[in-house]
């Protein structure tokens, strides 16, 4: 087989031209037809898929692929190995700070999202606030209802076993509040005082919970009578005799971030999707199912009137709570965790 010089030259030119065109398209504002979404799984991811993903895919043709679960370790391994497949990832407030410090995430493209009105604390350079969640006091309907963390700590007038979170970020601030620290003076957290306060409740704590479903189940099983819990997890147990309120609740935000080095075309598709998340009507649909409310200040008007007290960010409930201080936790996480483990082993 022989090729003329000319034919070879032509082919080379054509190939080169094709490459130039392909690269040109790639670098333009091209939108991928799919992106990968690191999600925690469970009820919230299901609701997200049904209320946000499906209509979005139907309208734009962009397919969203779930990567479950979205642990911090997985994100770090993915970014540090240089093989970034996901364009969105689910993170907590403390983890958002950690991810920033470890250079694992890149800025959100707010210009492209051009969201509707959002609570200002939900808009960060590196994080899109998806929903609020709150660590609240929960109890069985057949015991005396506590009105404050001081009541929760008072085992004489509110007898019964307790369950508290094994994550210090959800328990130590409560311990400080129970000892009488005023909510506006909570941070910087007085660790000595918080641990002294924990010493008092320790004999009554039978379980330190590690997963969100645990406290609700423990209450339903009558294994404990009082627990701190994430509001969405106990709101769905009302029928089964679990009660909660938002007094001195620890209000926190769940974030979506972009892993550093996400494929640009897929990131653009992901940003397009995030715009959906600023729509209060959709946020209301989502909140009705999981009781975690989104970023829109006008959301409260769209929530069911009879259940308004169950949502963390109605104006009345939001005023009762204390917003988490991710920065403080980031700066002190290491120290607190060691002390927390040491304290627990000392029991």
């Amino acid at each position: 087989m022989r090729f003329s010089r000319r034919a070879v030259g032509m082919t080379c030119t054509l190939v080169a031209a094709a490459i130039v065109v392909a690269v040109g398209i790639g670098s333009a504002q091209e939108m991928a037809k799919r992106f990968v979404f690191g999600s925690p799984g469970g009820v919230s991811t299901e609701a997200n898929q049904e209320i946000f993903w499906k209509p979005f895919t139907a309208r734009t043709g962009i397919e969203i692929i779930a990567e479950v679960p979205s642990s911090f370790g997985k994100l770090r391994a993915m970014v540090q190995s240089g093989k970034v497949t996901a364009s969105l990832w689910d993170l907590g407030t403390l983890q958002l700070e950690q991810a920033k410090a470890l250079d694992l995430i890149e800025p959100i493209d707010w210009d492209q999202i051009s969201p509707g009105p959002m609570f200002p604390e939900m808009r960060q350079q590196y994080g899109f606030g998806q929903t609020y969640f709150s660590t609240v006091m929960a109890w069985r309907a057949d015991v005396k209802a506590p009105q404050s963390w001081q009541d929760f700590w008072n085992v004489k007038d509110f007898p019964g076993k307790r369950s508290l979170s094994n994550f210090p970020a959800y328990t130590l601030p409560i311990a400080a509040l129970a000892d009488g620290v005023p909510p506006d003076k909570l941070y910087p957290l007085d660790l000595d005082r918080a641990f002294r306060s924990l010493d008092r409740i320790k004999p009554s704590v039978s379980v330190w919970w590690t997963t969100g479903a645990q406290p609700g189940q423990l209450l339903v099983d009558n294994e404990v009578q009082y627990a701190n819990a994430w509001n969405g997890r106990v709101a769905t147990l009302w029928e089964q005799g679990v009660r909660h309120n938002f007094n001195q609740g620890l209000l926190d935000i769940a974030w979506w971030v972009v892993p550093k080095g996400a494929p640009p075309a897929e990131k653009r598709a992901a940003m397009l999707f995030l715009h959906e998340w600023s729509d209060p009507a959709k946020q209301a649909e989502y909140a009705k199912r999981v009781y975690y409310t989104g970023s829109s200040p006008s959301l409260a008007a769209l929530l069911p009137k009879d259940k308004l007290h169950m949502f963390p960010t109605t104006p009345e409930n939001k005023a009762k709570q204390i917003l988490a201080n991710g920065r403080w936790w980031f700066e002190n996480a290491d120290l607190v965790e060691k002390r927390w483990q040491a304290w627990k082993l000392g029991q």
């Binding site: 911090f72 994550f167 039978s206 590690t210 965790e337 082993l345």
Partner: protein
Amino acid sequence: MTTGARRAGGEVGRLPPGSAPDGGLARPPRRSTGFVFVLPLLLVMGVCFNVPIVLMLAWSVKNPTLTPRHYQEFFATSVYLKVFWNTVRIALVTTAVCVPLGYPLAYWIRFLPAGRRLVALALVVLPFWVSILVRTYAWIVLLGNAGLVNRMLLRLGVIESPLGILYNELGVIIGTVNVLLPFFVLPLLASMARIDDRLLQAAASLGASARTIFWRVFFPLTVPAVSAGAILVFILTLGFYVTPAILGGGRVTMIANMLDLLINQLPDWELAATISTVLLVVVLSCYSMSRWLRNRAV
């Protein structure tokens, strides 16, 4: 025990000749060609498993240059040492419970007639087919304050308030023993099955009592399997994660839970690598110690 020994004696004649008297003792001649067949597995294990593990463990000494810092931190922080010791203690207790529970069970199955032996074996293996998560949660239903055990004891009037069986070290140990008992029983049973019945017959014909036959003939032959099984249970317990996480109620922290914390929550991967390395060294020394003991015994 007497009936067991007698039944064994009566059964010997009917045993198939397949159970060779020299079972396991004869060694096949070494051939270099065998190596070729192992090569694919070796490559997969080496490249996909061992190399990444070594790279991860290397995190313990570099960050980013060579440093002993993480080991210093590990040995200087009492929390880590406490968790480590806690884990070793739970592993020791689990082993100490598994051996006296598992040995009679294996012994009993060993002398069952073939058909019933199969049924008994199936019952031992059955838990393997049930997810460890399901089994662990099942213990909550059984052992909780409102669980079957406490409710029954309360109704019978044995106790006045529910016993704290769950969400403490006792709960964790019940869980680990449940999961690991088959790991002890199965190899032990295999080794017991290899013991030649004619040895026991010979002892009986020389006038030894059932007790003497057991302690002087049968038991010594099973000692290597018992120690191997015990070491296996001990090592496996060291790496338990799900059981302490669920049945410990957050009051029992074992190494794996600590590692999860260091990897997913804090995140301090260097320290996690350090603890993993120390754990690996402990496990390997346990293993080589058992090898050494066994070689010395033979």
